[in-house]
């Protein structure tokens, strides 16, 4: 029994490890072909991060984790929310405007802004959900289109809402008042801080796990994702589930930009970080939509991002090389899970065959006789 469990654990770990190794090999190959030092590059990336770097990794991972969760909610229902990128930017912009206006005092203002962000993200994703449920429009295409629409819309609204800082080219929304910012958590020796939003991200992960695995709604959602026909047969309103799943995914996406907004930038500007939604897709795939797996995936991506920064200075290699690693991981992770699944199935078949076949194999001569 325990031997079987160990093997199951090993097999479970095999797929991500295999994916990582393959990604590292392919990246090394690219480095080799381009004539860059392979070993120096990896030893820089794999060197122990300093306290400040660890804090950066955790901060970056917080953001990526939320993005991964948002994508994963859709994945569990077989919905491909490529629009997390657009959803979090428009939501963060709305939150920045609300928080900057400071209609409510202190943390009430923060709470209001977070609620607004989730509502805006949900509404933006809801468009795709409605189009899918009522008109059968693929959510992949509609969310791609909505990403671009949100880019232009936010650029337009930002110009309307912005205050121009004197002597600066960038335009930003009003700064969030100090009483409404989310304080950082002292980290390590207390010299550096990590986003206070980390707590909220962890809570989101718990909520994700609880809702999907311990509620009737979560069961319906997973059932619909695994088999629409079975879901219909058991009385689930699939169209309603599609809209609700997109709304939840969008609401989660609304949170993605907030750690940066409340813990670092304090306003939304034309230079606000973009592209986090696409990393989220990769991370959700890497973590197999499991809240802990997504966390590990987010940490890995954040680690690669942070550790690649000094590459240019130390070994003269462009840090974009890790983008190749990250993209390749997305592919290798899917392939290696499939390979491991097939291998496991073959093991099972052998085990079953071994258990059932051997004791009572009828002698061939008898069969001929009767």
């Amino acid at each position: 029994m325990s031997g079987g469990r160990v093997r199951r654990l090993l097999l479970g770990a095999a797929a991500p490890v295999l994916a990582l190794v393959a990604a590292i090999l392919i990246t090394s190959l690219v480095l080799l072909v381009a004539g860059d030092p392979v070993l120096d590059t990896w030893s820089t990336i794999l060197s122990a991060p300093r306290e400040r770097n660890v804090a950066n990794i955790i901060n970056n991972a917080t953001v990526l984790y939320l993005s991964g969760l948002a994508v994963a909610v859709g994945f569990r229902m077989n919905l491909f929310n490529i629009g997390v990128d657009g959803q979090y930017r428009i939501a963060a912009f709305a939150a920045a405007v609300v928080a900057g206006e400071a209609w409510l005092p202190g943390y009430l203002n923060t709470v209001l802004a977070i609620v607004v962000a989730m509502a805006v993200g949900a509404a933006w994703a809801g468009i795709a959900g409605l189009l899918r449920a009522t008109r059968g429009v693929s959510e992949v295409i509609s969310t791609i289109m909505l990403n671009f629409i949100s880019t232009s819309l936010v650029a337009f609204l930002l110009r309307k809402a912005a205050v121009r800082a004197p002597g600066s080219n960038s335009i930003n929304t009003k700064e969030i008042p100090e009483g409404s910012r989310i304080p950082g958590i002292p980290f390590g020796g207390g010299v550096v801080e990590i986003y206070g939003f980390v707590v909220l991200a962890v809570l989101s992960g718990l909520a994700y796990w609880f809702v999907l695995n311990r509620t009737r709604f979560g069961f319906d959602l997973r059932a619909t994702g695994q088999s629409t026909t079975a879901a219909v047969a058991s009385g689930i309103n699939v169209r309603r589930m599609i809209v609700i799943a997109m709304l939840i995914s969008g609401a989660a996406a609304g949170l993605v930009g907030l750690p940066i907004l409340f813990g670092d930038a304090y306003s939304y500007g034309s230079t606000f970080q973009s592209g986090l939604g696409f990393s989220g897709i990769a991370i959700a795939l890497l973590g197999r939509n499991h809240p802990v797996g997504i966390g590990l995936g987010a940490l890995l991506f954040a680690y690669l991002n942070e550790q690649s920064n000094p590459l240019q200075i130390l070994v003269g290699v462009s840090p974009e090389i890790v983008a190749i690693t990250q993209g390749v991981i997305v592919l290798t992770v899917v392939v290696s899970y499939e390979v491991v699944r097939r291998y496991r199935r073959r093991l099972e078949q052998q085990a079953v065959a071994a258990a059932t076949d051997r004791p009572e194999r009828p002698a061939p001569t008898e069969e001929v006789a009767t």
Binding site: A34, N78, M145, I149, S152, I281, L331
Partner: protein, 416 residues
């Protein structure tokens, strides 16, 4: 990707349109735009400059859309078009600078095919979800070009980590007598005649060889996919791979080739951006045109003619936005309003009351916007292709028909 349920029902027979219908549409468009110019006074709508720029903006979109067409007709959804285009821009920059203009074109195609190869290996051989693979390719392509650019362009004259040195330009065609002769006619602003002159001038002045090649490829694609056995077999893989395999078609091989060609087209689209629309590779040059190409293909109902019309439409709006044509786009609003009202009347005559009301309301709203504002902000011009695509998908999804097995995984031997 989940196909809308309607895609399963047998499609209504497509009406055969004669070439004259297309000609009539083109002439009708010219008359309509001329009329619009007269009414609104937005003179830049059909200047030869606008038309040349539209051509330059249309071709890369059309090439990307062709890439989408090749791949999706074989049943492989390709949202990695953007990434393959990015690879193409780099290929044009690297090979164009080192080995000359035509080598740049080949380099763009080659690098696009590398992207196609990754997609083909992932989706056809390893059965990876098409969307997942596409997303991965977009991430890899962006990272790879940025990495390669700072590896290969830094230190070259005019080059850097975000741009290549200037690429030698491709030959371009100018028929001086026609071009100069029609200049006067165009500037005289004679109703419709001047517009025709402008179109002819745009086609005879500084017409890049790659523009011609790009437009020819649309024709070639149509001929190959719809008029040859190869094309029929390829499309059968996108409609019903099981049937195709039972008839002896090597489904996986066709899919693989289709995705490679798709990558080549997208790469060429990127090359066009670097060599014709600009004169070197720049970081972020594609600006989402791969996705616009995807949109144009959907707008065109997975058919070359419609796809070209979609690319033209998106290229035109993009051009008007770029030529600081805030009043041009504003003028287009009036056209949209009139068009919507016309469709409303048409729907009413067909007794589709709800659709008629919808179009009438939309027409009135757009008309009201036209009279309420003086110019359209660039941001809204930029989002036009995407909004149009969403509207087309939302309003006409019943009439769109994607290849029946598009996006579905297929393993060899499924025919049983």
């Amino acid at each position: 990707m989940s196909a809308p349920a309607v895609a399963r029902t047998p499609a209504p027979r497509v009406r055969r349109r004669s070439p004259y219908t297309y000609l009539a549409v083109v002439v009708g468009l010219l008359v309509a735009v001329s009329l619009l110019e007269v009414v609104t006074g937005a003179d830049d709508l059909t200047s030869s400059g606008t038309i040349s720029a539209t051509l330059v903006a249309t071709v890369p979109i059309a090439l990307a859309a062709l890439g989408g067409l090749w791949s999706e007709r074989a049943g492989i959804v390709n949202i990695g078009l953007e990434g393959m285009m990015i690879l193409g821009t780099y290929g044009a920059g690297f090979f164009g600078y080192h080995y000359g203009a035509w080598a740049g074109v080949l380099g763009a195609i080659l690098l696009g095919m590398v992207g196609g190869l990754i997609h083909a290996v992932a989706t056809v051989i390893f059965d990876v979800d098409h969307i997942v693979s596409g997303v991965a390719i977009n991430i890899i392509a962006l990272g790879a070009t940025q990495y390669l650019a700072s590896r290969t362009f830094v230190g070259l004259p005019g080059g850097g980590s975000t741009q290549s040195p200037t690429i030698p330009s491709l030959p371009s065609l100018t028929i001086a007598p026609v071009s100069d002769g029609l200049q006067g006619l165009e500037q005289r602003n004679v109703f419709v005649i001047s517009e025709v002159a402008a179109v002819v001038r745009a086609l005879t002045t500084n017409l890049s060889a790659l523009t011609v090649i790009g437009l020819l490829l649309v024709l070639v694609t149509y001929l190959v996919l719809w008029k040859t056995t190869f094309g029929l077999r390829l499309r059968s893989c996108g409609e019903s791979p099981v049937t195709a395999e039972s008839l002896g078609v090597a489904v996986l091989r066709y899919k693989f080739v289709a995705v490679l060609i798709s990558g080549a087209m997208a790469g060429l689209a990127g090359g066009f951006l670097a060599m014709v629309a600009s004169s070197n590779y720049r970081d972020g040059q594609t600006g989402g045109r791969g996705y616009i190409g995807l949109a144009a293909m959907i707008f065109g109902n997975w058919r070359p003619g419609g796809m070209l019309a979609g690319s033209g439409l998106f290229g035109y709006t993009q051009t008007l936005g770029l030529r600081s044509g805030r009043d041009s786009v504003h003028a287009l609003l009036l056209a949209v309003a009139v068009l919507a009202l016309a469709v409303a009347v048409l729907q009413l005559r067909r007794r589709h009351v709800r659709a008629a009301i919808g179009f009438a309301v939309a027409g009135v709203v757009v008309g009201a916007v036209y009279f309420a504002i003086d110019e359209v902000a660039d941001d809204f011009t930029r989002m036009t292709p995407y909004v149009i695509t969403l509207l087309v998908l939302g309003l006409f999804s019943q009439r769109l028909r994607m290849p029946a097995a598009d996006g579905e995984s297929y393993r060899k031997g499924s025919a049983g």
